[in-house]
């Protein structure tokens, strides 16, 4: 029943893999296609029959799915050159992942202990398992499993990024000037509802609904739904943009292919500071068996990254008895007031030193 407790503090959402060490780019293979999915070892015999199609003929994706995994988005530096682990390596990697992610550990002193905040009770236990195909990163292209390097950014965009880094540093130091120093997840504006859908520490559920001509995906956080028309209509014009973008879909065989553009230019709306004018994300949802769906996304933004990049995340159907509950975030977002009143108290005490921004995003930053 941990999903009942979903109105908890938004500060602690962590996008798995974004907290890893700085990006190093090696061995890029521009244009390389993603490797085909490897079957989960030893699971084939237990698999249930693939469900058929909806009465109106579309592949049936309906149900509640969970995308939690301990596999990081980007390959850790220590595993450079190693895209898939053998069973022994996978066991060790998983053990290390569990140790790194677990909240019920007491090393690091009291400050680290407090920063871990909730204990395991609040967390999605599924996040402690790596993907069954033993990949070392969710990114499958480029071959090094890392987000590609940035293209040279305009002075204006560098300025925006620097201002964001300073705001993040003020927030991390407990000294936010105002609510705008906080990220969109902390402000309950966008969490896992905007693509790409990446696993977090909790509330990793997605309810897929279908009707003739539409697919709707309702992510648990934050209670919004992307309603995807399948009728081939054109995208909205480029002067009408949204927080979750503008989404169009089609079925390609058994795969739902979803293309999203038209993201707003508000700071933080586009994933990792991409350029809303050139950013496009294409997602592919393919049901593999009764309980598994492969989610794959490709991000293209030539004004931000040197090449497109692709990640793949297996989604697991959750037990029908386990329901998805409403994630009301903004309605009881006491955190914002606590952060701000705390900052004002610190200022009165003379605590005003904010460390220089390190460039890495804090927890909850997109």
């Amino acid at each position: 029943m941990k999903h009942r407790l979903s109105t908890s503090a938004p500060f602690y959402v962590v996008v798995a893999g974004l907290m890893l060490a700085p990006i190093t780019i090696t061995g890029q293979t521009p244009g390389a296609k993603a490797a085909p999915t490897k079957a989960a070892p030893g699971k084939a015999a237990a698999k249930k029959a693939m469900p058929g199609r909806t009465p109106w003929g579309d592949p049936d994706l309906q149900g509640v799915w969970n995308d939690a995994t301990g596999t990081p988005l980007q390959r850790p530096n220590g595993l450079a050159g190693k895209d898939v682990l053998n069973d022994e390596e996978a066991a060790a990697f998983q053990e290390q992942t569990v140790f790194d992610l677990t909240r019920d550990r007491r090393d690091g002193g009291s400050a680290a202990d407090v920063n871990r905040a909730y204990n395991e009770h609040w967390m999605d236990a599924r996040r402690l398992k790596i993907t069954s195909d033993h990949r070392t990163s969710l990114i499958v292209d480029p071959a090094d499993g890392r987000i590609p390097s940035l293209v040279p950014l305009s002075p204006e965009r560098q300025q925006v990024r620097a201002a964001r880094a300073e705001a993040n540093a003020r927030f991390a130091a407990g000294l936010p000037k105002d609510h705008l120093d906080m990220s969109l997840p902390v402000r309950c504006i966008i969490r896992t509802d905007s693509p790409p859908y990446l696993p977090t520490i909790y509330n990793n559920d997605f309810h897929i609904f279908q009707s003739p001509g539409f697919v709707a995906i309702a992510p648990e956080m934050i209670h919004s739904a992307r309603i995807i028309p399948l009728d081939g209509r054109p995208h909205l014009r480029n002067n009408l943009n949204q927080w979750l973008g503008d989404t169009r879909g089609r079925f390609d065989g058994n795969t739902l292919v979803v293309e999203t553009t038209n993201f707003r230019s508000d700071d933080g709306v586009v994933f990792q500071g991409g350029n809303p004018a050139t950013y496009k994300i294409t997602e592919r949802f393919t049901r593999v068996d009764a309980d598994t769906l492969n989610y794959e996304f490709t991000i293209e933004d030539p004004a931000t990254w040197t090449r497109p990049w692709t990640a793949r995340i297996p989604w697991t159907k959750i037990d029908p008895g386990e329901q998805m509950y409403e994630y009301a975030c903004h309605e009881d977002n006491f955190d914002i007031v606590h952060f701000l009143t705390g900052a004002r108290v610190r200022e009165k005490r003379g605590e005003t030193a904010v460390p220089r921004p390190t460039g890495s995003a804090p927890a909850g930053e997109r």
């Binding site: 909806t54 309906q62 309950c188 504006i189 309702a218 200022e347």
Partner: protein
Amino acid sequence: MRLVMTCVGTAVVLACLSMAAPPVVGQQASSPQFPPYRPARMADGHPDLNGLWQALVTANIDVQDHEARPGPHPEIVGAYGGEPPGQSIVEGGDIPYQTWALAKKKENFEKRATVDVSNDKTWHAVGDPELKCYMPGVPRATYMPFPFQIVQGSSPYILIAYQFTSATRTIRMNWKGDAPTDAWMGWSRGRWEGDSLVVDVTGQREETWLDRTGDFHSDAFHVVERYTPASPYHLLYEATIEDPKVYTRPWKMSFPLYRRMEKNVQLLEFKCVSFTEELLYGKFRQPNGDVK
């Protein structure tokens, strides 16, 4: 059942003109303003409610009769904030409040534009939740001046996605269990009664209001909705509401929903959180800090 409606707009005028239609029989829309209608059906034989729908009543201002009035702070927003008149959607005209509750409603109205989030314990004590961009609850979500989309397929779950603050709710068909926890949009259990989708809603957070006039409920709020196709372009919406802590008896509201017919119309996002943050959190800003 008598249905009072606002006859504005071409489509509504047509509906009003048809009020003289003969009474219907059987499982069809039970309202006298619509002639008998047999709706299009899904593969399972139940009516197809898919589509983008919107109410045209002004009940979000006041579910009861209301005269035109200025909004809060007319010295700033002028006629932009003015609130149009409208007729009651409540059967019999008035909500049957207990005496204390009527006084509470008046107090709610007086403080409807007041916000105070300085204390967690009294966070929700004053102010219209709509002003603060909180999820509106049921039935208010249905008659806010924003469209919503029904996504009905072949699973036991129906999605209603509302434009206002991107609120959503899942209707669990033939679900037996009670609401496991309170939620802003409640816990919706659906069933078919003839051609009507009947939705039993419990477990709503007690903080939601029914309108900008301060109409309210308690944690004993129980809403039973009926969505009945009345033409290819109309659903009849009815809600029976009970709350023994606040009202003297159950009461009922009804109004039509209109299908949005614009070419390529789609549910756009109204994520209003960022539009209310200054109102909620501005006073906690660093003194002399730049207002961005």
